[in-house]
Structures are given as C-alpha cells and as structure tokens.
C-alpha cells in the first residue's frame, strides 16, 4: 500500500498537523518508505492467531467509588495558555 500526497494531507488533518506544500513531497516519500517496511507482515500467516493488545495478562482492577481529589483549579489554570475567569478559552467554535 502506498500513499499519495492527497492522502498524506488528509492523514495530517486527521491528526491535526499541517503540512506545507513544500514539505509534502518529502513527507509522502518518507511515509511510503516507512510503510514499505510493513509489507513484511503480509508474509506471515496469522490466520487464527489471537491479537495481543497488551503484554499484561491480567484483568482491570476496580477502584472504590470515593471522591479523593481536591480542587486544584488554581494550580492547573496557572499554567494554562488562555484562561477566562475560570474557563479554558479557545477561538469561538461554531456548532
């Protein structure tokens, strides 16, 4: 499988990254070189192999339903790039 420039632009947008047109050529060929590494996997017969999502063969631990966190809004907001009275601010979103 190989990507064309249009797909590369789409993937970049999906990941909210911008690619300048001047970089597009190189990015596309780099990504295609990397993806060509993956062709190797097609050789392997994985017919009934169970996918392995995680190396720990344990089950999810459950937490008691208790409020353990205190209000640290001030400390958190002190490092925020743009804060209103107590809200994080982003450019107006049109729904």
């Amino acid at each position: 499988m190989s990507l064309d420039k249009k797909q590369v632009k789409e993937i970049a947008y999906l990941a909210r990254l911008s690619i300048e047109d001047v970089e597009l050529e190189q990015s596309t060929s780099e990504l295609n070189n990397i993806l060509s590494l993956m062709d190797d996997l097609n050789e392997i017969d994985t017919g009934d192999v169970e996918p392995m999502a995680h190396p720990l063969h344990m089950s999810q631990r459950l937490r008691d339903d208790e409020v353990t966190e205190e209000n640290l809004a001030e400390e958190f907001q002190a490092i925020a790039p743009k804060i209103g009275k107590s809200h994080f601010l982003v450019p107006t979103v049109i729904e």
Binding site: M52, R61, F76
Partner: protein
Amino acid sequence: MMMHNLSVAALIKGLKNKDFSSVELTQHYLNRINKSKLNAFISVTENLALAQANEADLKIAKGDNTPLTGIPYAHKDIFCTKGVKTSAGSKMLDSFISPYDATLSHKFNSENMVMLGKTNMDEFAMGSSNENSYYGPVKNPWNLKKIPGGSSGGSAAAVASRIAPFATGTDTGGSIRQPASLCGITGLKPTYGRVSRYGMIAYASSLDQAGPMTQTAEDAAIVLNAMAGFDNKDSTSAAKETPDYTNQLTNSLDGLKIGLPKEFFSSGLDEGVEKVVMHAIKEYESMGAKIQEVSLPNSMHAIPTYYIVAPCECSSNLSRFDGVRYGYRCEDPKDLDDLYLRSRSEGFGKEVKRRIMIGAYALSAGYYDAYYLKAQKVRQLISEDFKKAFQSVDVIMGPVAPTPAFDLGSVKDPVSMYLADIYTLSVNLAGLPGMSIPAGFSKELPVGLQLIGNHWSEELLLNTAHQFQLKTDWHTSSPIEL
C-alpha cells in the same frame, strides 16, 4: 578519592560512614554537571538539589533515613516533577511546569533522594540517537562526535561520564538498553507492569516501562528496589509482591541455561560487536553456564510490528497536546482548526509528527485490519516465540544494537534509524525484562551485552549480570571526557 567513580552501593556506605555528606556529594556532582559539555541535562535543578541534600543530611543525622536517602540522581525529563519543568524533550512542553509528581518522583522524594536535574532525551522518547530533542543532541562521552543512543541518551551519558551516580530511563523499544550499551553502562528495562507509569509521559502505553540506568548491576538492583511496586493509580501496574532485588546477588551461575537466538547473530550485525558479545558468552561458559541455540523466528518481524503498534498508541496519546490546557499554543489562532494545526505543527518535532501520522493512518477506517490488527497478531507470535524459548533456557543473550555508537548526523533517513532497533523491540512487544551490561569495546566505543529474562525474572537477570561484573571490569571503565 574520586567520589564520582563510586557506585551507588559505595556512596551509600560513604554516607553511612560519614565519609561525606549528601550536600558535599551533591555539590560535587553539580560542579561536574556544570563543567560537562555533553548536553546531558535539559534542566539542572541546583537549588532544589541542595535543599533536598540538606534535608537528607538532617534525616540521616536523626537516623530517619533509607539506604538511598541523600543519594543524588538524574531524572529523565519524561517523569513529571511538581514545580519543575517537565519537557519530554519537546518544544510542546518547554513551558510546562508540572503541577503534579509522577509516582516515581514521589517515591524518590519520600526516600529523600536528591534530584540533580532532568536529563535530555529524544522528543517524547521517540528516537534511537537523541538527535530528536528540541534541546539539541546529547554527545557520547566516549567520543563527542558520536551519538549516545536514545531515547534515554541524556541519562546514559550522565551516568557514563560520572556526572550522576545513577539515572532513570524509560524503555519503549530499547530506550534504556540501547543508550546503556552505547555509553557503556548498566541499564535495566523491567517486566511491563513492574514500575508505575503514572506521571511518566506516555509514548506507547502498552510498551513503555521505566527502569534504572547505573554503573553496576548491583546498583540497578538497589535502585529498582526504590522504583518497583504496585501503584493503584496505574491500572497496568501489577498487583504483585516486589522482592528485595539485592537478595539474590550471590547465587552461582553453575548450570544456568543461556539461549542464543540464532536470528540475533545473522547478517547486519557488526563484526566488532559480535566479537564482544561472543567473548562475554565465553565468560559465562567459564562460570558454569550452559549455552544453547534458541530460535525466535518472529522477532525478525519486530520492526514492522513495533513501528505500527507504537505509532498507533502515540498518535492517540499525543492528541492531548492541543494548546488548550497546558503547553505550547500558537500565536493568535484565528479559529479552532488554526489553534490545533499550528500549535501541534509548531510544537512537535519532525520524528514525532511522522509517528503520529503513521499511527493515525494505521488506525484509520479501512486500514485498521491490515496494519494495527495484523501487528497485534504478529505481536502474539513474537511473544509465543519467547514463551517457547524460555521452556528450555533461563536467560536469553545477544547484542543490544547492531553497531557501536555512530556519528552524530550520519543517519538521516528514518527507516535506517528504525532498523537499528532490531534486537531490542521484541522484548517490549512481549513485555519481558531486559538488560544491557558493558561487555567490551569495539573501535574504542563501548558495546553492551543484552540479557533477556522471562516475565518477573529481574532477580535472576540482575544476579546473572552481577556475577559477570564480579569477573570483569568493563563496567568500571569510564570516559575521560566530562
């Protein structure tokens, strides 16, 4: 006496015997750091370190201390440290003063250990050469023209050049073992789930694991004692008892079964490296170990498997960096898309963006089965290979990296860079513990020997490494360069 050449074990004795105070020790290391030209640190926390050392001396005076109280260390800049910049080597987090402590930072603080500073690293731990840091590359202390390895390159260079007694590292695909090998120190990646990941900035969550980077295996055991253990803030932390890792360091290796994967000694392995590794194996044989060949056929597919799994997870893990709540935000975004696109494009470096894109693609509609799911299945096969091998051997050994450290700037193409990870990736994919220990030199550059154990076999690995270090002195050689 050269304090900085002492191991952590020796420093603990020195503090106990009042040969020096923690403040003296800390000042000594800070002086060395200030003279260092390696760019091993992103932040040196001089005032904090001296305050912590002072506090440690008080605790020691009162007898209210643990063995590691007052011992200085360098912390990889991927661990959140409250009130201290935590950058992960990225412009994205250049302004990020963490409002909270990682579990590991918290553990070290509660033992009154002394943080000298935060070490340089490949951005978000993505890289094998430390050239992907926003703060510039780290230099290999054995040869300033060479890379130190990555991503924990700053940590490895700091320990190798004796500007820190030990350092923390993280290993997602070899990021502790490979720089340890290239800088001539001891590095341990524990079993996945052994050390808490809470507060360790995630690269690939199912692969990331923190571990110690030290001069000796004994030090690794001492430091692992402080790092390991169940954490109720991390769902992937194993609720499993943690042994005292220094307890099993006296066992004989007589009869130890060592497996050499034939696939690790095929084409692509540098002759000099192979020679060092085989020489180390001979050493083990002389200690009574039995050597046999094993096969890990699927580990040869570790590169494509890893370079799908890790980017998929990272593409999602790094979505939180959006310029809204913390970190880099572009100037005057005109709308929401502009905020996202520019903040992320300006805040992330090239390699990070590359891996995010690969991951976004591999997970996207229509490609998930061919890439992500396929990789997960091969991951299973890789894991099963190890399971089979460990039915007949106790420890697997081989090279860490195909070559010694290469020249800074010499590998420009990402694929060639990825290919150098061939011997370390499968260990992460299977969640196994692995080590690199100094085993000799090739072309005047250090070469490490890789030890791979079964799940939760850190004690065996550490003793296997320690026994080697009792017979050899590779781990005591240090570069002259600061």
